[in-house]
């Protein structure tokens, strides 16, 4: 049986000239999320009817953090869950299968709600396409919005984010690595760029995890 083989290449695989370059520090990540939380409230005229759905793995952690910030800003508990898109991918035939990750829909459901999909990196847009399909099977939201920590460009589908932490111009030859404490075994959050291609839309495993 093929193994879930989506580990990032080890640092040793990166050519010396392509040492990772940090583009967002922990403080930058925190500021970006805080701004997104404010934007969400502003756009929605309050936090009512919002549902945050993170796309595993790191989107779930980001959704959780946004919920915490929304609570600080508006004093409202925003229902938060996880939406796994493994079974909806359009490139299943191009890689070994992996076990799907948990989908958790808050008990309030998604019908007539404003669902905010949350992911770490927006790249080809194929993950979001799959997420929209997965969401359609769960109900009919009043609106769907997209919040991402990093938009690195190179879209292959007509999809855009409503809320972006940082626009990061990249080339296909680069990798964007988001590391979040609580998911990855790192002391602090960071976003960095290194040489070495990743397959677009392929979720990367938590650092140090064995998935």
């Amino acid at each position: 049986m093929p193994r879930a083989d989506d580990q990032q290449p080890a640092a040793a695989d990166v050519p010396a000239s392509g040492a990772p370059r940090t583009v967002m520090s922990e403080a930058d990540v925190a500021r970006a999320l805080r701004r997104i939380a404010h934007e969400l409230v502003e756009r929605n005229k309050g936090a009512h009817d919002l549902v945050l759905l993170g796309i595993p793995t790191r989107g779930v952690e980001l959704a959780r953090r946004l919920a915490r910030l929304l609570h600080e800003v508006e004093g409202v508990e925003v229902p938060t869950g996880a939406l796994d898109i493994t079974m909806f991918r359009d490139d299943l035939r191009h890689q070994p299968t992996r076990a799907p990750l948990p989908t958790h829909i808050p008990s309030e459901g998604v019908d007539d709600r404003v669902v905010v999909l949350v992911d770490d990196v927006l790249y080809s847009g194929r993950t979001i396409r799959a997420a929209l399909d997965a969401l359609a099977d769960l109900g009919r939201p009043r609106a769907v919005r997209l919040a991402v920590l990093v938009d690195r460009g190179h879209r292959e589908l007509p999809i855009r984010a409503d809320h972006v932490g940082k626009n990061l111009p990249t080339s296909h030859a680069e990798r964007v690595m988001v590391r979040l404490s609580g998911v990855d075994e790192v002391p602090a959050d960071s976003v960095s760029i290194a040489l070495g291609e990743t397959r677009a839309g392929r979720p990367s495993a938590p650092e140090g995890g064995n998935r």
Binding site: M1, P2, R3, A4, D84, M87, F88, L92, R93, H94, Q95, P96, T97, R98, A99, P100, L101, P102, T103, D133, D137, L138
Partner: protein, 314 residues
């Protein structure tokens, strides 16, 4: 993984991945829309030369919920009843470019043989008295749902071991997951060669059900007495079998006294009053219906891992 022919082909990691996938698939069963696009465009043929209700229907549902085209062919209605050989039948089906053959056959080793003839993936859905790997996976899944990890858990498998493919696959998968397995059967229904297997894989053997139950196992799996495979001489009368090896009301009480958390499994169909009493079959500790419910999720997981990923050439 290209085929699923034997539980022995599955490593611990394979089993863990299949059960993790099944857990997510089980959640789909609670949704309004029970449909995933994952296997769109794939064709799954259920080729059943023996009667089956739950295995065949759960494979069919599993395929359909994942958007595969699923077709059932039974021995009775097919050209085999006109005298076509098994090889010609499966080659004919394979020539239609199907992706997966789910096969049940009365001959042990049939699925393995067919896997060497065809390009499609082959899933063994029961071959004679040999193996039934998806049943073992769903039994492990069901027990884990109730008991948590099976590592170190004590499981007794009771009944007609000689004719049971369910027991063979279960014993392998349970050992793969680290469970402690005791096999209980009358001496006439202990398969030949079981001792060397038991020694090699650390299985315990017993012909005393009462003693095993008094030990308070975490799970007791009752096997069906297979009347269709009994050509006499294994035990004198059904009544005698029940007295020695049936999970009667009294034995259920003894089990519950020894271990109040113990669960009861049966692969079905049950012979109520023969190997299992109505009290045991309908007890709160009985997982019989959970097993059926898990069957679809586990078979979705198997079809997904066999058919969704990149083409394996072997």
């Amino acid at each position: 993984m290209r085929h699923l022919l034997s539980s022995a082909d599955l490593s611990r990691d394979d089993v863990r991945m299949l059960l993790a996938t099944a857990a997510e698939m089980h959640e789909i069963q609670r949704r309004d829309v029970k449909k995933l696009p994952t296997l769109r465009g794939r064709t799954v043929i259920n080729l059943f030369f023996e009667d089956s209700t739950r295995t065949r229907s759960s494979f069919e549902i599993a395929g359909k919920w994942m958007s595969a085209d699923t077709i059932n062919i039974t021995g009775k209605g097919s050209s085999t009843s006109k005298g076509e050989s098994l090889r010609d039948t499966v080659l004919t089906i394979d020539a239609m470019s199907v992706d997966c053959l789910v096969m049940r056959h009365m001959a042990s080793g049939a699925a393995h043989q067919v896997s060497q003839w065809v390009d499609a993936s082959v899933v063994n859905a029961g071959d004679g008295t040999h193996e039934h790997p998806t049943q073992a996976l769903l039994d492990a899944y069901t027990m884990e749902q109730r008991l948590g990890s099976l590592e170190g858990r004590r499981v007794a498998i009771v009944g007609d071991l000689t004719h049971s493919r369910v027991f063979r696959s279960n014993a392998i998968t349970l050992r793969t997951l680290g469970a402690d397995v005791t096999l209980v059967a009358p001496p006439t229904l202990m398969p030949s060669g079981i001792r060397s297997w038991a020694e090699r894989d650390g299985l315990h053997l017993s012909d005393d059900l009462d003693a095993v139950l008094a030990d308070g196992p975490d799970a007791v799996m009752m096997l069906r007495v297979q009347r269709e495979r009994m050509s006499g001489g294994f035990f004198p009368t059904p009544r005698e079998y029940t007295v020695g090896f049936g999970l009667t009301r009294e034995r259920l009480r003894a089990l519950t006294d020894a271990n109040p958390e113990a669960v009861i499994c049966h692969p079905g169909p049950m012979n109520r009053g023969l190997e299992i009493s109505a009290d045991a079959a309908d007890a709160a500790s009985s997982l019989v219906l959970d097993q059926v419910s898990a069957g679809v999720a586990v078979r979705m997981a198997v079809l997904y891992h066999l058919l969704a990923g990149e083409e394996v050439t072997s």
